[in-house]
Symmetry: C2
Subunit: 217 residues, 2 copies
């Protein structure tokens, strides 16, 4: 616990070289969600992009948010979402982490990242956007809103959860999905991938009542 | 890989009991960042709340976003942010995970979660909002914007990174902060805490060029 800490102020951040700064700032929020985002163009061309900026927005209605920089690599993702209104999220497993990372390369519009990386598109009965067959936690979202964040021009895309696939043995009796057991990975910074290891589930906290441990599955 | 998957559709989600649904939907984005958010009232009362909805918004300017439900437990956090414009983020370590979780209890406004949980406030030279002394990755944010998300009335709070404390030995030469080495935890669902384990860092992806591994520290 007695670690020596570096203090980095605004001026030091301003002086950072571009890539150094991106690595540094991306590390600060903590561990991030890791999803392959599947979309399809109106012409039927599939697209796949890795995202670490997907987050919970609300349970009722069931909403997720994702941040997209309009000028960044996943621009075809954004175009497809706006045209078709469909998004799939697919958790990344260790077996295909390098292929997932490779989807961040700037492929031409006519190239599907599925073909380029060897990942397999999978279509559900109700969804045109492709899922990733190799993934075992898959979520279908319908576009509900887009909100521009004025300060840096990024876009918050809001999607409603309309279908979910999870391994049968990962769904707990209380609704919790054991995504560690499913093999889902997490990411830190821009390029560092991690496995998760179970530590503890804790009961709903109330003032002056001791916490108790909730067993995992 | 040949796991049997449950298919859960919109109707099944609609029928879920409230807590089951919260556990389920909160599990879907994947692993989440885990921060204690420190604020102070205009009267000087400290406040501390655990958050899993903090995310990277951009590196230049260095921005973070956080989602707050105005009617939820961290309402004092929101009031303080709006009045003072200051936020601290403090990564959670295994040593104080139960105390961190306990900050989610609905304490009265006059109770500081620091006193209630035994965590220690720490003030930097330049910041009025309290850091958590037990944490080793600490970030000071200045409020830059608040954006209401119409569909569910949640608020996106946008903060600019103005100071950072990280363990000296966790800062890589390329700017990456090794938050696993720092002991930062991650959370899934609403109450499941996890350690991270290193898997791999991968080089910047380009079409038709093989990826290489980047060593951790």
């Amino acid at each position: 616990m007695m670690k020596s800490l570096s203090h980095i102020d605004s001026e030091a951040i301003d002086r950072m070289e571009k890539t150094f700064r991106a690595n540094f700032i991306n590390s600060l929020p903590g561990f991030k969600s890791l999803n392959l985002v599947g979309t399809i163009s109106r012409e039927g061309k599939t697209n796949l992009a890795i995202f670490s900026q997907v987050f919970h927005l609300g349970a009722n209605p069931a909403l997720m948010g994702m941040i997209i920089r309009p000028d960044s690599v996943p621009r075809h993702t954004l175009t497809n979402i706006l045209k078709t209104g469909q998004i799939t999220l697919n958790h990344v497993l260790e077996q295909f982490v390098a292929q997932a990372h490779q989807t961040s390369a700037r492929y031409d519009e006519e190239v599907s990242e599925f073909e380029a990386t060897g990942l397999s598109p999978l279509f559900s009965d109700s969804f045109k956007a492709p899922y990733v067959a190799e993934s075992v936690v898959r979520i279908g979202l319908t576009l509900r809103d887009t909100i521009t964040i004025p300060i840096n021009g990024t876009l918050l895309v809001v999607g409603e959860v309309v279908e979910v696939f999870v391994p049968v043995e990962c769904l707990s009796v209380d609704g919790y999905v054991d995504i560690q057991h499913a093999g889902s990975l997490t990411v830190s910074g821009t390029d560092a991938y991690h496995r998760a290891e179970k530590l503890i589930r804790l009961s709903y906290a109330k003032p002056d009542i001791p916490l108790s441990e909730i067993p995992f599955l």
